[in-house]
Symmetry: C2
Subunit: 421 residues, 2 copies
């Protein structure tokens, strides 16, 4: 009964919007979604009448318990003047809006709708760090939480297992962080548009102002080794290995492939969609791999007919530096145990052969969890259209990009392949 | 650009499971889902290898805040041995699992999957009534909650507006309650398998045992008029106008139409799917109608080519007795202002021309919110297969049934039409 997975009807992206990410104490997730939506409407090259949008899918994780308001579908519907048309919320923790994207694809591929808006929203910064840690722990497995694990702990465990198995060390993780922060200032929407050098200079300046001793770091790695500048969170995950708490919203406009050129001459096609589920830490046979990522990748490759080497660049879920390395391997970009070597060699830099997280990644761009999946796809869409400005991948033949989104500690994963044809 | 909505590929139901609904203090929502899942596996006439299920969609509303655990997709995936295949949670308050059903339909209709499990789960009874009221209020609009409205208040307002507009009264609502309770003892899964007569007798027996004066009710309506037996909640909604707090889980197995007869000789086809969103009370132009229901109905009728008069019986979201009457009108079964008259005439009884809530409805069967949408569809599936036992609709030509699910105070609505061909 098994057969190659494919869609009855192609789907393309013809518009998108993404807020700047950061801490916006005076704005709520509705405000943010309205901003992303407005950018999306303006982004459609040949214009879109918003009334032609037939359905909406939105991803959100924390509003139920951080804002004490559930059932966001009708709120969003009312916000963008969409009543009485359908709106559906999907939730898969940090992968919530990648699920919204996938359901939007299915809704069009099924033949039922032609034009669907997908997006995500999250407001986190109004809560204390402790509240956020407790809230996000609800996305982990109950077995993990019961044994004292929160997110940094789970990925710290992944790291120690990886180090033991492959001989890597914290020094190798530094290269992920440095690479992502090198991309950050090139992204005007990044929460931390700063290189590690910028952080070093800022700290030196502060010491100078306060009359404190000036740190004497040799280089970026030396800064990251400093336990004052980069304190441990859950060893070996230090502060600069961990993504921040962020507010933000994102959206993309999907249409049936045969209609795409009514909206733009540069539609970006959905070549492959994959999703998987994964075990909790206690049940994993292999601590240095995420079966959800592997399953998602397999499904997306199978549908697209593409191979890992065909993915010219990708957003990869870097909630922690360690996660990026393991996912590079699970996505098939590098063999197990070679992900950190590829990073060390600079292969994943913006000008390398396989740029990863050109947006700066979750670490520097920010991680408003429910908005992240579509925010990653927005980056790939922007890059494939050649509109990424200073962070544009320097490849005149850019055709295929990937976006990998992980929910929780590995429980849900999506991998999506976009293509410019 | 507008066109008739249809699916590229048909979808049929070939299996289902539903727990008994009620208060199960010693069981959690995982336990309940396992029970529904096990019934589903056993229900497939020609058998199903669970490993052939390609994807799962689950609806849940309250686990985030009642159980302090989010991200239920991987938990369910692990529970039923589905890792690493995809699981997606949908949330639309009380319509959460009807959304799961709809996404399952799209996933198959898109051509991507052939076999998909959809379901819902909820555990509510471990929380106090106050906690449940507060939690469910999160499904209402923020404007409603800010002005002191909870669910009974919103539907009480609907009722007073309806009474004023059409000359109906509480006496008319009694007929909804009496009708639903007449169906309840015929459903072995009902939370309250009792007629109103049974309640009267139980109370008389209790008075006798306690040596209290024996009430002298003339009939069922007299009992419902008694403010001690049937106290007000939010006038004119009294206790017997309101559905209970329930635990339960439900699931259905969906397959591509062309594969259905591999699993059963009696597949039940998805003839129409509709979904809508609605305004909050403060923005409604018409207090006696739900635009989300009207939009959902229109979409489902349009796809199916069927008319309201073709729907031989239906589950209709009766979170409150008033809701059932208004929805009978919004679904087009009766003209505005005639719903209560149809109920009074007995048209919606099990042996009437348009049986409504043969299951007993939310009022008597129970309302585990995230499980309800699929539980309603389960009832229609069972009826169309002729397996409803004592509550089987007495029509040898039963071919078409509907299921209407409302989320929140009207924010999300689905209407689904199933057909035996």
């Amino acid at each position: 009964m098994l057969r190659k997975k494919k869609l009855a009807r192609g789907v393309a992206i013809v518009g998108g919007g993404l807020t700047k990410l950061g801490h916006f104490k005076d704005r709520n997730s509705k405000d943010l979604f309205a901003e992303a939506y407005t950018e999306m409407i303006g982004s459609v090259d040949k214009g879109i009448d918003p009334r032609d949008i037939e359905a909406i899918y939105i991803g959100n994780f924390t509003n139920d318990f951080f804002v004490n308001q559930g059932h966001w579908a009708p709120i969003i519907s009312d916000l963008v003047g969409h009543v009485p048309k359908p709106v559906t919320r999907t939730e898969g923790a940090c992968a919530s809006s990648a699920l919204a994207f996938r359901e939007g694809v299915f809704a069009i591929a099924s033949g039922f709708y032609d034009i669907v808006l997908v997006g995500g929203l999250e407001q986190m910064s109004k809560r204390t760090t402790e509240e956020v840690a407790e809230g996000l722990a609800m996305a982990a497995s109950p077995y993990e939480v019961a044994t004292g694990f929160t997110f940094p702990g789970v990925f710290g465990t992944t790291a120690t297992a990886y180090f033991a198995k492959y001989g890597a060390s914290r020094e190798d993780l530094f290269n992920v962080t440095i690479k992502s922060h090198n991309n950050a200032p090139l992204n005007p929407k990044a929460q931390f548009p700063m290189t590690i050098r910028d952080f070093m200079n800022a700290r030196i300046e502060r010491c100078r102002q306060k009359g404190e001793p000036i740190p004497n770091w040799k280089d970026e790695k030396d800064f990251l080794r400093d336990p004052v500048a980069n304190p441990p969170i859950a060893w070996p995950m230090h502060l600069f290995d961990c993504c921040p708490i962020s507010d933000g919203a994102s959206c993309l406009l999907l249409v049936a492939e045969e209609l795409a050129r009514r909206f733009t001459d540069v539609p970006i096609h959905v070549a492959g969609i994959g999703q998987g589920s994964g075990y909790s830490l206690h049940a994993k046979e292999n601590l240095t791999s995420f079966e959800a990522t592997r399953a998602a990748a397999q499904e997306a490759y199978e549908m697209s007919g593409l191979k890992p080497e065909d993915i010219q660049f990708s957003e990869v879920h870097d909630c922690f530096s360690m996660a990026e390395i393991v996912h590079l391997e699970d996505l098939g970009f590098y063999k197990p145990g070679y992900g950190y070597k590829a990073v060390n060699e600079g292969q994943t830099r913006l000008n390398g052969p396989k740029p990863i997280n050109t947006s700066g990644g979750l670490k520097t761009k920010g991680h408003p969890v429910g908005a992240t999946g579509v925010a990653q796809l927005y980056e790939v869409w922007v890059q494939l259209r050649g509109k990424a400005g200073k962070r544009q991948v320097p490849n005149p033949n850019l055709r295929v990009g990937g976006a990998h989104n992980l929910g929780g500690t590995g429980g849900t994963c999506t991998f999506t392949i976009l293509e410019r044809r």
